[in-house]
């Protein structure tokens, strides 16, 4: 027997290092392909979808979902859910509405108080989840119920009705509306500032996830909580921070919708939390945590917004709305999945 050839064998390359495979293997690539497919479909099928006015509508629709989807995606990568995220968007807006219209508080102060309350609730969610070891699904469900009930009861108690009225008459309304509700008309299309917020949030989230220590910890706590704790990741801080991020994003969306429509109802946001989760999953995040991307979630929201508004543009009978929405989302997910699988050679 001979052993001479071991060294020559050892230098044989074992990995084909094609950068294209790398790109295709990223979590958001499939979502990008799916988004393009949806866009092309509606652009061809309808006349107004790919006009400036049309784009203004679906971008607006996607933007608020997008902001929340990105925050929810971070949380999901970190291995948790926040079912109170939807109702929190209504809650923050109601706080501002009630403080200003009922108690005459300065609108800027009201907005900051609202943010502080939102962050505190987020921190509480995270703290309870971590201290009790209960699943966040159930803890934040409790928060959801408590907030949804409080929204209704307190609004009714203080205003006598179930929606905030008369916001536009509040002093300095316009000064703050410029940040959250202003729009730009380009070629007949109305583009809201929320689209800018959406892009900013996505960029920051991507930077944090991929290029900071916090991002590393988010992936770690979601991928293997116990291992993370063992190697010294500050698990508590990371998770509480994630819950606070989500409630902070909910505040942003609450402000955007408050200052865009100048009103808010007591049941605003109820049920929306699942749309955020859907967008994140369509965008390639794993429900079980530890895998996903912010850009993917943003693309998931874009797909949702385009499909949702596209159906209206296509003038289909809206009784079938949900059927079509469901079918399209499934197709998008399949496409996403197929692209990713091709890219990674079936290993995931």
């Amino acid at each position: 027997m001979t052993t001479t050839d071991i060294m020559t064998i050892a230098t044989r390359p074992r990995v084909e290092n094609r950068p294209i495979r790398r790109i295709l293997g990223r979590p958001e690539t499939g979502a990008l392909v799916a988004a393009l497919a949806v866009m092309i479909f509606f652009s061809v099928y309808t006349t107004t979808f790919l006009t400036l006015p049309g784009a203004g509508v679906w971008l607006e629709s996607a933007s608020t979902f997008g902001i929340m989807a990105v925050a929810v995606a971070l949380l999901m990568i970190g291995g948790e859910f926040d079912l109170s995220a939807g109702v929190m968007t209504g809650f923050t807006a109601l706080v501002v509405g009630i403080l200003t219209t009922q108690f005459g508080v300065n609108i800027w102060v009201a907005a900051i108080v609202s943010l502080a309350v939102a962050l505190a609730i987020g921190a509480l969610n995270g703290y309870v989840v971590m201290r009790t070891g209960l699943p966040s699904f159930i803890v934040t469900l409790g928060t959801f119920f408590v907030l949804a009930g409080a929204d209704l009861a307190v609004t009714k108690l203080l205003t006598g009705q179930v929606a905030i009225q008369g916001m536009t008459k509040v002093p300095f309304y316009d000064s703050i509306a410029a940040f959250f509700g202003s729009s730009l008309t380009i070629g007949g299309g109305v583009f809201y500032i929320s689209v800018v917020w959406w892009i900013v949030v996505t960029i920051i989230a991507t930077w944090v996830l991929l290029r900071t220590r916090a991002g590393n910890w988010i992936f770690a706590v979601g991928g293997a909580l116990n291992s993370s704790r063992q190697v010294g990741v500050p698990v508590m801080k990371t998770k509480v921070g994630l819950f606070m991020t989500t409630s902070g994003a909910a505040w942003l969306v609450g402000m955007i919708s408050l200052f865009r429509t100048s009103t808010v109802q007591a049941n605003t946001g109820v049920g929306q939390e699942f749309i955020y989760i859907i967008c994140a999953v369509v965008g390639g995040c794993l429900l079980t945590g530890g895998y996903g991307s912010a850009v993917g979630a943003a693309l998931g929201a874009l797909i949702y917004g385009m499909v949702f508004q596209g159906i209206t543009f296509a003038q289909w009978d809206t009784n079938w709305l949900r059927t079509v929405l469901g079918g399209m989302l499934l197709l998008a997910v399949f496409l996403n999945h197929w692209v990713r699988r091709r890219a990674t050679g079936g290993s995931r």
Partner: protein, 269 residues
């Protein structure tokens, strides 16, 4: 590097009558030993004897149900493994403590990431981290082409090497290794034993768990023998021979007959 070692080695960790129960299961009770700077403490015992439980207490992953832990003579209670890490205690867990979906290099530096820049521009130093990862693994004889691949796709031994390289890289005062050589080939095992010797020579305290007396005896200075959760001896090297150690671990004369038995069977076939 030349280090002058004190004649009486300084005691880093002192363990006083420590015990741990999981619900109704008493995994460990009344263990007393110490870990000295520049010495290797081997923990030996049968499967289920409580070795991993013991080192998890040292590493801050479990809080003991009874007894006391002293670091540099001061009683401490670790609230988390982070607290232990901050005191310079690095651990290789038997289940490796890696995050399967994360790339190898991120796992290597997890919890102790390198950064560049300041303030809001403080960011991960990705290039440097990848470089160090490749280099440290190469030192152990593992040459990974792609440190970006999820660690879950590595082979059992490769994963173990990452965990060891990480602990050695970050271990400042004490290095705890729970069956580090279990999944390793002969070559890699050799590298690990050499790492242990080198860490000891640098003045670190090492806690080393293994089932192989031939690995333990050459590097060990002190041997803690566990049986069914209790200590059956805490010996200095001078108090015990390799033969005694082996027979204690293997449960007496059983072993000798084994080679015999296998031989016989062989002849028959």
């Amino acid at each position: 590097m030349t280090v002058t070692l004190p004649t009486t080695p300084a005691t880093i960790i002192e363990v006083n009558a420590i015990g741990k129960s999981y619900g109704a299961v008493n995994a460990l009770s009344g263990i007393t030993t110490k870990v000295n700077a520049g010495q290797v403490t081997c923990v030996l015992g049968d499967n289920g004897a409580g070795k991993s439980t013991f080192i998890k207490i040292l590493a801050g992953a479990h809080t003991p149900s009874e007894g006391q832990l002293l670091i540099d003579g001061v009683a401490v209670t670790f609230s988390s493994p982070r607290a232990a890490l901050d005191m310079g205690i690095a651990t290789v867990y038997q289940d490796l403590a890696v995050v399967p979906l994360m790339p190898v290099w991120r796992n290597f530096f997890l919890g102790s990431e390198l950064t560049r820049g300041t303030g809001p521009f403080r960011r991960l130093d990705v290039k440097e981290m990848k470089r160090v990862t490749v280099e440290e693994l190469a030192n152990m004889g593992i040459d990974l082409r792609d440190v970006d691949q999820p660690i879950g796709t590595l082979s059992g031994g490769e994963r173990q090497c990452v965990a060891i390289a990480r602990a050695v890289y970050f271990g400042a005062r004490v290095l705890i290794l729970d069956e580090p050589t279990a999944a390793l080939g002969v070559k890699q095992s050799g590298v690990v034993l050499r790492y242990i010797a080198r860490a000891r020579d640098k003045g670190l305290g090492v806690v080393f768990i293994t089932h192989n007396p031939h690995h333990a005896y050459p590097v060990g200075d002190r041997f803690l023998l566990l049986n069914r959760g209790t200590s059956i001896g805490d010996f200095e090297k001078s108090q015990i021979t390799l033969g005694e150690l082996t027979s204690l671990m293997a449960g007496g004369a059983e072993l000798d007959s084994l080679a015999h038995e296998l031989e016989r069977a062989e002849r028959r076939s």
